[in-house]
Every structure is written in structure tokens, then in C-alpha cells.
Amino acid sequence: MTTTVLSPLLRRVPRTWRRVIRLGALGAVGQVFISLSGMPVRLDVREIIVPILSLGYLAVLAVPVVLGVLLGRRPQHEEFLERPPGSRDLVLGATLGGLMGGGGLSVLALLLANFDLRDPLINWSPQLSEFLSFGRGTAFGFVIWLVIGGGLGLLGGSLRLASSRTQRVIMTMALTVVSAAILESLVVDLVEGVSLEALVEWMYAPRGGLTLVGAAVLAVVSGLLSLVGQGRIKAVQGRIQAMEGPRQTRVNLMLIAAVGVVLVILPLLVGKLTNELLANIGLFVLLALGLNIVVGLAGILDLGYVAFFAVGSYSTAVLTAATSPRIAPEFPWFVALIIVIVIAILVGLFIGAPVIRMRGDYLAIVTLGFGEIIRLLFLSDWLSGWFGGSQGITAIDGVDVFGLLTVDGTNPRRVFYLVLFFCAIAIYISWRLERSRLGRAWMAVREDEPVAEAMGINTVNVKLMAFVVGAVLGSFGGAIFVAKVGSVFPSSFLILVSIIILVVVIFGGMGNIFGVIAGAVVLIGVLGGPKQPGLLVEFSEFKLLIYGALLVWMMLARPEGLIPSARRSRELHQEEFLQDAWLRGQIDTDDANDLHGGSDTPAAES
């Protein structure tokens, strides 16, 4: 903490206020950054609640609220040398923090009016100035952001004072309104599918965004629901968990069947665009499940997963397309798929074998290299006689299902069903493998390779198997991608794709099937894939930025992901886990040290 230039000054300030100043400054920087990134101006067109709140303003306004909430939290001191802050101090602190955050924008408004930095900063524009001053002049802008920042900080801070019950209700209300606005196109599509247009017209404004009445009603309803439903869900969960083996399995099966039925019916109710979105989500679920086996189960950080996706795509294209430059056997898609699987296995072995013995971090970089080499080879003139170079292979037929119907990009609903079918296969494979001898071997290798080896596991073969299974699932993704898009170009297989799949896996929860699916649904559904738009179409410019920030934040705050796998999170928090155990008197100190010492060897981390 001694590195900032301000540190000698800061050190004289009491610790609780230091936190306020630090977070306030951070908030100010964050808000200025968001403004200069062009987010507010660009997102202003997307309405959340029609006359009063757009996504652009939400992006900026969220910062002071979050600051307030963070500052309103009672700091947990390791030693109680200072008087713990009272509620009034906390609220005051939160307000001050919000004020500082807002102050950043005030200063920015002043600077915008007086300097021209448009040359390097493309968003240093009159529009931003107008946005920040609400069109009423610089002075107004300067004052209003202080007021807004302070007010929202106060709001966020006082939220903390309310009982946890109230807090949860308020959170639910806010989340419901925002998600209803974000999910607008989906909701509209779905509701119109069951012909309830009146509801939509009443809830959403004609040009997008919730109406005031709609938002209010939604908030009240969700608030009431959360008030009533509090504790119920937990109770039901508890009841299911309390059931004995066979009954629990039956409930689980019923749940899975219900989800399956919903997934089969859903595409029938919604339109083409939503089906396209669903198909994209499904495709990334498939890819993420594949990567999850490599990264999540076997603990091998593969940054070149796109290689398998690319190989699957290109080999499907070459085998099925009539337009393939060199050899064009024009197999039916399902026949080609079998050959694609064989090719994927070979490529998995070929890429896997050289890297399998490397240190975990070297392996990551080398797989990244392989991913890029494969793309560059497909792109090169040298092999363009085979794969079409930068022209790619176009006009590829869709999937012909037993001569009954064709699945191609013109009918996203069929593509979705195809994806769903393969996702089901992938889920089944993952689920079975996780509980198999091989799955346990993967986890053993992930947790401690030397020990796993000592236990008689052939670590090389086991890791290679992970590569191969991952490669096969990735190539499924590629084959479907080709059928869906009808063409392949090298530019579809940038490193970016690997990273986004990695973010999906990490965000959802490495090693947990449901986590990975949830990650794909949330991220790809809302933000979109590398080239595919999500629900927040306006976000497409910023989604990579958000993916990057999300990856860092996840690693810092919650490395086990949204829905963690129990075993994985225990590994990541081993130290705390051991401390807890020690505090509870479960292990004596010597054992804890032994355990700790054993986990510190580098090989355990690869």
C-alpha cells in the first residue's frame, strides 16, 4: 500500500477515511473512463425506463451507487485499535465517496468545455459534453454531478443500514427492472409467441425500453414476490437435499426433463432472431463444455482451444462442400462428422503430445501458439489450394437429416435443435466422465500431479485423453458452425474466440457443468460472442473490454466462478479452508503445515 505517491499524506488520515478516499478516487477514475470510452453516449439510445433512464446513464450512475454500497459495508478490521465506525459515519462516508465519484465527472465536464483533446481521444466530443451537462451548460453539469454522486452514494450507503430482508427486496426489484429491460426483445418475442400482445404494448414503450407504469408494476410485483418467496426456495432446496438417494435422483431427473421440455418448446414460440440467439448460445455452451473438460476437469490451461473449433469447421467444409478447392467428396454431413471426429482426435493428439509434459504456464502459451498457427496456415497462400486462403470456403450445404429436412442458417430454429442435440450429448459425456475413473484421474492430476502419478495414474495418457475429448467436442462445435453459417473464413478463428470461451468457462465456474452452461447463457446471451450479437446489441463495441475486465475481476474476487464446483473451490481457497479447519480444532498445527507444504510445490498448480 505504500506505493502511491500520496501515501505519506494518506497515512495521516484515519484508516476508515483512507478507504473512503481511495474508493472515491477509484470511482471518479472509473466514471471518467466510462465516459471517455464513449459508453454513455453510444448507449444512450438504449432505453431502460423510457423517459427517465437510458443504458448510457445507467452505466455512469451505477458507479456511485456501487461505491455507496461498498463504503456502507462495515469494514472488518483484523485488529480493533480504532473505534468501529457507527452508522452515521458509514452513511457519511458513502455520501462522500459518491461525491468524489461524481466529482470526477464534474471535473470532466469542466475540462470538456475548456480543452480540446479530440485528437487522441475519439470520444472527447460535444455529444459527451452535452450528455454530461444535460444540455444546460457547463456550470449546471459541474454541480449536478456532485449532487447526483453524493445523492446516489447516500442512497447506496443507507441501503446498507436497512435490514437484510429489505435489502434483498430492493435488490430484487432493481435487478428485475434492469433485466426486464435488457431481455426486452426476448420477452416481447416470447409473449407475442403466446399472443399476449396487449401485455407487451402496456409494458414496453414503442421504441424500446420499459414504460414508467410497466417498470413500477414490475418492481412492485417482484418486490412482493421476493417478500413472499424469501426462504421458500431455500426450504425446497433443503428438502430435496434431505431426501435419500433414489428419491433425490428422481427429483433431479424430473427437473432435467422439465428443462428439456421447456427447451424443446421455447423455439416454437419465438421468432427467427431469438432462435438465432439461442443457437449461438447453444454453440458456445457446446464449446465451453469442451473446454471445461480440459481446463475445468484436467486443469490444463488450453489457450488455443479455437484450433479444434477451426479444424472441425474446415474439415467439415472440405468434406461436405461442393465448392471445396482441392478435394470435394461431398459427403453427407453426418458421414463427414465421423471423419471429423477422427481428424479431431488426431489433431488433439498431435497438439497434445508435445505440450503435455510442459509446465502449466508454458503449456498455455504454446497452445496459444498452436491456435494461431492453425489459423495462419488456413489463411496462407501456401495451403490456399486446399482451404481457399483468405477467401475461405463458401456455399456449403446445410445438414440433411435423412432426406426429410435440411438444417441450415436460413432456419435458425432447426439449427437450435441440432445444437441442442449435440449439447445434450456433450452434457451427458461430461457428466459421465466426471464420475468415471478417468474423471477422477483428471481431478487428481489437477490437484497434485506428482501425487497422482505416485498413485499409479498415467498422467501423460490421462492428460492426453482430456485434450482428445476436448478436441472432439470442439470439432462438433465447428461442424455445426459450418452448417449454420454456410461458409468458413480464417477470420472466424481468432485467438479471441479461445479467450471468450475461457471467460465463459471461468465466469460460470470451472469444472461445473451447470456453471459453464449458465456462464454461456449469461455472457453470450447478453453480451454476445466474438462476432455474434447478444441481447445488448449496443454493447458490441464494448463487449471485449467487458470480457477482459470480467476475467480480471473473476480471478480477483471469485476464481471459482458463478456456480462453483465444490471440489474446485476448496482447492482455490485451500488456505482459508485449512485455517477454518484449524480454528475449529479439526487438525492440529503440524498436520496443517504438512498439508500446506505439500500443496506448495509448483507441479501441483499446473
Binding site: 494461431e372 497462400d381 501441483a604
Partner: protein, 370 residues
Amino acid sequence: MASASMWVPRTKVDWFLTVLRVLALTVVTVGLLAFIAQQIDIDNPFARVVNPDATGLTGPQFRGLVISGFAQGAMYGLIALGYSMVYGVLGFINFAHGEVFMVGAMTGMITSNKLDDAGLWETNFIGSLLFIVAVSMLVCTLTAVIMERVAYRPLRKAPRLIPLITSIGISFFIQNTSVVLLGPTSKAYPDMPEWLTAKRTFLEIEGTKIMVICVAAVAMLGLWLLVERTKTGKAMRAVAEDQEIAGLMGVDVNRTIVKVFAVGGAMAGVAGILWGVLFRSVIHYTGFLPGIKAFSSAVVGGIGNLGGSMAGGLFIGLAESTGPLLILEPLGVSGVSQLRDAVAFAMLIGVLLLKPSGLFGERLSAEDRA
């Protein structure tokens, strides 16, 4: 890992690896032999068999390649120092270091254009250049230090792959920050003065390349003096050897690690300007490939080994500029210049496959040495 038994296959994977190594060496050897054959006599039967359309290289062409290779290699070496030092001290790959280099190149672009607008770029080129180097070093140092503070310090004790994943996230974030703040188009440096770009009579080398090599040499010398001759450098070496014991000996470990990031960032800043001088254009993904190549350089030289990093940079630079024409072209691969980046990646893989401990030996902390 890399043991003496590397070449003696025991399992199937070992066999595969051995075959791969032998294959790689064969390709390189045959390519080189074919090149030598075609240089001796273009109608040499051996050269004709391998590549019927071989044209060979003239003396000046070859010299040009070597000098470009040296200039770029010097730049890679400077970037590699950052990878190498951080790996030596903290034991993880700071993937975002290439992005720090890109930030340096961008800073240089902005500053030099501003100077050009003010007319200083033409009237006082040397002064302007020194100024942009200083600004770029400052900005890069700050970037690297903030990065360490925000993202890496909280993860000091996490499993090794966690900071690596974090650094990928940071790299992504910095790249796209550049996109949203500065725009997604490629941006140009102002024109270099003519006396610099003109080919000198001395071996007909462009002045820019000589300058790049000189600047890199000076920066490297400065770094070497810092690490080997000052107290700070001693602290860095101590922390790299063993953080805990260095701490017990009264070294402020946190502060030293910050300094390591700062120095690495400053070197990347210098390299960023050198990139600007050499190629005169930057775009947000400028940092990615040089970053990868610099990391390969660090590995070639032996990670943690500073002199090795510089030598590794020169090796990678030379191999990259001459490799495609020396080895692939004589083998009859068409469109070799397109495969430059693929060659760079292949070199990375080759290095890690053949000699992961580097040519000059790794210097890692006690616990990373396993």
C-alpha cells in the same frame, strides 16, 4: 521436465516427441543446406530438386535481412527483459507485458504528433525523440505498476495459473481500452527526418536501424548497471532468489517487486518508441505478436536471465527475418512472407520443445526451480 533423457524415448509420447524433434531439425538442416547450395550455384541439382523456382539472395538483400533482424531483435530483447524479470521474481508469465509495450508505442505516437504539430519534431528531432522516450517510459512504468498493484499483488499466493489468466484478462482489457479511447484504426507516427532514414554509406544500412540498435544497447547497459551495481538491483536479485529470506534480511519485498515491474515497464516503453521509429504505425493489437516473440526470446535466453533475454531477442529477431527466406523458401513453400508470424509461433513451440530451460540457463527462485 527437460532432463538428460530428453532424447531417449521411453513411452509412446516420448517417441512422438523425438520424431517431432528430429523432423524439425531435419527441416531446418535441409532448408539451410538447400539455401547454401542455391547460393553457391543457382542451377545446383540439389537446390533445383528442393525448390525448382529458387532465385537465391543477393549480398545486399541478405545484409538487409540481417540488419532488420538485429534491429527488431534488439526491440524484442528489451520487451523480453520485462517478461524475464517478472518470471524470475514472481514465477508467472505476465501476459499483459506486450500490452505495456503497445501503450508505449501509442504514447509515443500521441506525443510525437503533438510535437510535430508544434513544429518541434522537425527543428529539434533529437530533443523530441528523447522527450517521447521519457514520456513513454513514464507512462509504461505507471501502467506496469498499477497493473501489479491492482491485479497481481492480491494474487501473490494464488496457484500459478491464476495470475496468468488474470494477465490475459488485463491484456484484453488494455487492448480494448485503446480501442474505445483512441479508436480502432491504425495510427501513424510523423515522418522521420531524411538524414535518419537515408541509407548510410556504411554498409548501406538505414540510419533508423542503427539508431534502434544503439538505443536498445544503451537501455540494456543502463538496466545491467541497475541490476548488478546498485543496492536496488541487489534487492531485486535477492527477492528473485527467495522472497521470504530476502524479507528477513530487511529487503522491502513489496517495494522491490514494484520496482521490478517499473523497470520492466520502462524497458517496454523504450521498445514501444523503437517500434514507432521502425514501423511508424501502431494499432491496438500491436503488442500481441511482439509480446509473444519477446516471451519466446526470454525463454530462448533462459527465463530470469537478463543477458540471456537480450541475446534471445537478437536470436529470435534474426531467425524471424531470415528464417522464412533461408529455410522455407529453399524448401519450396510459397508466399513465405505471409508465414512470418507462423514462423515466430513455430519458433516459440520449437524452443519450448527442444530447450525449455534456454540457451544460457534459467535463473528462477528456489521454489520455482522444481
